[in-house]
């Protein structure tokens, strides 16, 4: 199992920040996922070993956080907020629209592996609701028309 240089640097640095090793688990998982796309059995085992944890303990943590995944996701992970502010301003319609357009449901991935869809809780962009997060990019004050453009934009990137 090989991670990038940058991962290793971050990992080593983080270890010094906490009194116990296991404290770096969550950021480590996130960095690993960013690199590999998802947390494979191999990655789980490797990280568990580095932090003196059992594989099960690492899985427990992964299953707790919805941002962490053990299954491959599409290149672009479309996260539609349906929490209160977004819901009031059309978040649910937006989700349904995306679902129709992409032909997938919550946690689904398109056959070409380009998009995944997810319904998420508040992403902290309530002032500009409804909001959608695609990987680490935010898109705000959305309508279905704007959403189409955004999705097309991602599609044309490849």
């Amino acid at each position: 199992m090989r991670f990038s240089e940058q991962f290793e640097q971050r990992f080593t640095e983080m270890l010094g920040h906490y009194p116990t090793k296991r404290s770096v688990l969550v950021p480590t998982l996130l960095y690993a996922q960013d690199e590999a796309g998802f947390l494979s059995d191999e990655i789980i085992h490797e990280i568990a070993g580095r932090l003196d944890l059992t594989d099960l303990e690492v899985r427990n943590v992964i299953s707790y956080y919805s941002m962490l995944t053990t299954k491959p996701r599409g290149k672009y992970n479309v996260q539609v907020c349906t929490n209160i502010a977004c819901m009031l301003r059309g978040g649910e319609e937006l989700l349904e629209h995306c679902s129709k357009k992409l032909g997938i449901g919550h946690k689904g991935t398109t056959a070409d592996g380009l998009f995944s869809l997810e319904e998420v809780e508040c992403i902290g962009a309530c002032s500009w609701a409804p909001a959608v997060q695609v990987n680490y990019d935010f898109h705000e004050n959305l309508t279905t028309v704007k959403m189409d453009k955004i999705l097309d934009g991602y599609k044309s990137k490849v």
Partner: protein, 786 residues
Amino acid sequence: MPDVNITVDGKKVTAPAGTLLIEACKSVGIEVPSFCYYPNLSLQGACRMCLVKVEKMPKLQTACTTVISEGMAVTTDSPEIHQARKSMVELVLGNHPLDCPVCDAGGECELQDMTFSYGAAESKYIEPKNHREEQQWSPVVYFDRPRCILCYRCVRVCGEGMDVWALGVQNRGVSSIIAPNKEDHLECEECGMCIDICPVGALTSGAYRYKTRPWEMKHVGTTCTHCADGCKTTLGVRRSDSGMEIVRGDNRDKSGINGDFLCIKGRYGFDFADHAERLKQPMIRKDGRLTPSTWEEAFELIGREFSRVQQQDGGQAIGVVGSNRTTNEESYLLQKFARVVLGTNNIDHHRTADFPALAAALTGKPDLTASMRDVFNAPAILLIGNDPTNQHPLLAWQIRNNVRLHGARLYLVNAEPIKLERQATSVTQVPSGAEGRVAAFLAGDDSAADALTGNTNREGWIALRDKLRSEANLIIIFGSEIRGGDVSSLVKFTLNIQGAKLVCLADYANSRGAADMGLYPDLLPGYQPVAQASKFHEEWGAVPQTRGLTLPEMVESARTGKLKAWYVVGANPIGRFAIDPYVFSKSFVVVQDMFLTETAAMADVVLPAANAYEKSGTFTNTCGDLQVVKKAGEVSEVKPDFEMIVRIAAAMGFDVRQLVPFGPGTRMDMGQSRGAQSGEADRHAVWLEARGLEPKMSPFDPTAILDEIQRLVPGYDVPRINLLAGNDQHTSLSQSGPGAAQNPKLIVAAKDDLFSSGTLGRYSRALNSVMENHRNQPAESDVVAD
């Protein structure tokens, strides 16, 4: 720590600073309800059943996570608190299947009790419940997810207590679930601790599930019959076609030396009792074949043959092999029978530790042995050799939890890597076989250090020794790697450390008892040499004073045709020592056992024996803790070894009163003065039993021999009432006889692991299924012994 004063429901309570409120309440008899709180496990604060009102605090507080502070005023019950608890129960019941009528826990379920005390009769929850079929996680662990109330006790006891970490929590909030470490199954030590600790019926036992209802069983607290640690186990029994059947083993009675602990063997390893191959009829060899007979015919034949050999060739032509799993009373009786009735010192057993060497080194030196309880509290422990996690599961638990809860320092010296390294302060490797040199080195022989290379140099060893010398109240635990003179070196080292104590590790449930009771050709009970005049000679009259034959010598003697008869009680020397069965074919062989072992198959007479769960008496664990063994199961076709020994003596025309000093015609008062009101203790019986004066009505009463043991065997004169009340009583070796040097080669380790247990394990379905599951060696090829 300084004491802190608080008031609970108007009562003044004083407890050391740092005490949890829930414990402080308990100390004055006020019960605060709880699900997730469990003493000695990390705090969880998950269930909120323990809410109490603390004055000046705005909201109700969880008593299980609140540490008491000076002047705290607490109310544990009020309409507000009651309402809060009621809501908690309602929430917990929200997704509960309420299948109490078929649930294993029904009748002893904490959720039922809590609902009964605090719950409401109605539920506002109308959504469909989440259901999931029951899952089998291992041969012995089943999980019924909807019943789980997410208290996380199982997760914590497996991780913190067992150091196995096989259970986890996945997801979060309402969708949290308990998960096993291998996706859909467990890979673990199969101890069943998680099942016992589960407050509801979510985790259930493969051996017991859906078998019976808790209130239909009788519960008998007795001592485990497997390893030498002596856990108290509670056996649930119910009527069966042929007597009483054991349906469950658990540790519901937490007063034993094992507290919360039981390993797989103590919990599930009782099913050998109703194995299809269990011997249930005496058998006599006729025309070369073992043929069923009556008891009378068998005893008569044995009596006649033993007498004949004795008259023609003398007692020395008979060899006796005792057991590591019979009670103290039986072992004592057996050697007395050999010496007094047969007139021979040819008696031995499968030795797994050098107790004679220990006794010899400890004579005249009091307080040098540690009890199993001490191991949990000692500030420091040195362990030389052995792998307790596999061979002494309770000892491993005591050590592990002492380190976790009291910060004990654990020093390991071992040839192999062992799991306890995870708890160790220091790990020192020795070359295999050099453990004895460690003892010599510790005792001050610096030249021994040269043999101790491994991962540590000479300076390292010296530093370790210096460190150990400074550890007051150190407990030194050693495996059978250390024998003979090395034991006395270790005792010498122990004497130099203030308060230090020893534990010598043997392998079977009553190996220590077998040794203490004198199953040796040269030692009487209490390590009294046969050649020296002693109380035993005074009491028994003339007994042979020359040393008898050891087991290998008996085999040799039988080979040359000198040994004419064998009496083997609860042992399988042919299977254990790979003896050529032909050697046994030339003599008259009597075997008492539960199964047709390799040795029994060669016998002329086989007598079906009861096991330790089917009789009463006492066991001494490897530390020297004496405990009672109580009859739980019953198979009507078999007899305890005790009775069979007496019957053989009688058949030889011996006056059994000389063998078993039972009461001289006691007249019993069965009249009005006894137990008149229901629930009233029988004061007469209690008083008499406490003093060992209760009538011994027949020569089959083991307490008659217990009287003699307590009177004659040094160190066994412990208070009888404590023993009978089910408390462990530490015996001492300091008044023992001088012992005698033994050939170290006679000690052969049993090499049982977590899932094997000699003959008993071979015939236990539960243990076999676990072994198969773990893809160990198939059980059939296992070496079997006593």
